[in-house]
Symmetry: none
Subunit: 205 residues, 4 copies
DNA sequence: CATGAATGAGCCTTCATTCAT
DNA sequence: CATGAATGAAGGCTCATTCAT
């Protein structure tokens, strides 16, 4: 068995164990038992328990980065909204296709400690920056309302994160297209009917 | 010093320590040192470390429940949107006024283990149910667009959670009114300008 | 049992175990078993295995320093040679009265690692400096032959060290007075009879 | 590469590693890395880590034995003192010419464990016996003062050991001839000037 | 012979919890 | 009620040794 295969085998076992028991609940013994290797072998491939967890998280983070494409203007065959929607669709697919790892990112990696918090925040920084770029593009092009791009980016990020968190932890099954459509509709049009918007805009502000 | 005061003193110390170091990073020794009590005294007030953490989380959860009011129709002085906005405002205030405990709920309590995950999910179930009730009310009354209330409730929840998470962990300062206004605007009207909505609605769907 | 007593009890057990098995052969489990305490108790008194070993060695080193008195001139009731002899006698007594700890210093602490080697060398530096001071005093006063004080100090140190090493490791019994007398005689007069010294001095140099 | 060459190559690497890190600090991995061989190869040449260390120590011990010649009387061209001095000179040269191995014998091999301690003591037994033989010869021939030959042999051994230990561990440079001369002078004549000897001999004993 | 991936016994250390005072 | 010394189960990591290729 070559090195990469063995490494992948350990990573796979670790994913299952971390997803099932959380970071602290997972013992190295659990991982090696699941991977059917000796304890020492584990340490031939990863310097310590923390490291393999980091590899798992980083790997997933990279896969997310890999499916995200910055929205560009001017391509008539791919309007910006569609591009955004495709990004959402791909991220959702990524998470639902690998629910254990998604759970690790969205639940187990949260609040591990200060150092890991910073790693997560840096990742979400990247995502937020991407979203903010898109928003600014839209604002400049006139089809996105002006407003605080940072806060709105956090909101958009939070919507997707929460959806994935709930689905993955509850093992809910929702058709992906419905999910994406609902999210996009909420983001694009808001919650309210057009008539209500007019009424509300007169009263609430 | 009476029992309740002592108990509160320990809870306060625990809040600070958990917020600073996370659940596993916090040692009972840290808490008693901060509370200036003996180790044994801790166990006179709480059966174990897990329990005090639960009390902290539950307390915050109750405070959140305490500021949430179901939206009702038919009160002309308090239109539903305003009621919702007030709910958001109060939750945001609660979190930002007690950032350490908010961090505990939003970060440290996440992914602790299966049992605690269920506790969190149950709490979010309640919140989601509340939001869903509101949505359904709005749909029935004709001012909220029809659509998957569950998914949209998750989205709304996620927006607020992420905002609080980011602000609390990054120690960011954003005026609360701006925050709430931005969120409400996004929720009510969506991201897009009215013209764009018409264009998009023709093409993306 | 008060803290100092408990600490002493652990130190005593550690002395016996280290002396019997050497640093690496001694497990913390052995020490706590011998001290009849739980493993955790050990760590209430010493940060780690290395530390208690260091305390043992440092303690013995201090006791040695404690019995050494710099040789002074001009006291007719205590000629320099007698002062030196008393130093030797006291060091020998110290070692033979606490053979286990002497073995730890002379055997177990040797070659532990670079850091500990430096600690030992620093100690022997002090001893050598003391001896050198005495030698220089004697040279200046005209009763010690001129010569390399450093090298001669090492030699004198080595004589005592080796004697203690051999006696302690072999559990030999030699009357202390005989020991000291033989050493002093060797140091003072050399190995050779007076006639031989004259012959040798003509030929060997 | 023939077996002996390969074996020598491993021994050389082991010498460097043991001298640098001590017995326990040296990992078999370090040795094979330095020897540029595979881990398994190591075990084709030596049954275990302890064994190669033993080979190193034994080899050095044999080299020491090899340069030591029992002192004989009756050869007018080689007076006994000169023979002894030559022995010292050769041992000193051996150590200083191969400082790493000397450090292994004098520092790393000390206090390893009971079994190895006995091996060392056996070696020093041999040396002591040799010295004692010489002393007895001298006593019988009338040029060495009577006295405890065992203790005096330990002293002479200790002098040379300590000198080598200090020089090797501190990486000091002292001209070998000076070293040997100082040692011989100390042994032959003692520390004191002739006048002082007379005074002392009246008072100190 | 050589390789180096795999093994697993061993050991130090942590820390939540208990209980005698 | 309060104390804090004592407990000991638990788990991460190392590294000498083996063996299939």
């Amino acid at each position: 068995m070559d090195r990469e295969t063995r490494r992948a085998q350990i990573l796979e076992a670790a994913t299952a164990v971390f997803a099932e028991k959380g970071y602290h609940g997972a013992r190295v013994d659990d991982i090696v038992a699941r991977a059917q290797i000796a304890k020492g072998t584990f340490y031939l491939y990863f310097p310590d328990k923390r490291a393999i967890f980091g590899v798992l998280v980083d790997g997933f983070v990279e896969r997310i980065h890999g499916v995200l494409e910055p929205v560009v203007l001017g391509d008539p065959s791919r309007p910006p909204v569609l591009q955004a929607q495709e990004n959402v669709r791909r991220v959702v697919s990524l998470c639902l296709d690998d629910a254990p790892t998604a759970k690790i990112l969205l639940s187990d990696a949260v609040g591990l400690d200060g150092a890991f918090d910073r790693r997560l925040l840096a990742f979400y920084d990247d995502l937020t920056a991407l979203v903010e770029d898109g928003l600014r593009l839209g604002v400049d092009a006139g089809f996105v309302r002006p407003g605080d791009t940072r806060v709105r980016a956090f909101c958009l990020l939070g919507m997707v994160k929460e959806l994935m968190y709930q689905l993955v932890l509850r093992r809910l099954e929702v058709p992906r297209e419905d999910l994406v459509a609902t999210v996009m509709s909420l983001v694009l049009d808001g919650l309210f009917t057009e008539e209500a918007q007019h009424l509300v805009s007169q009263r609430a502000r």
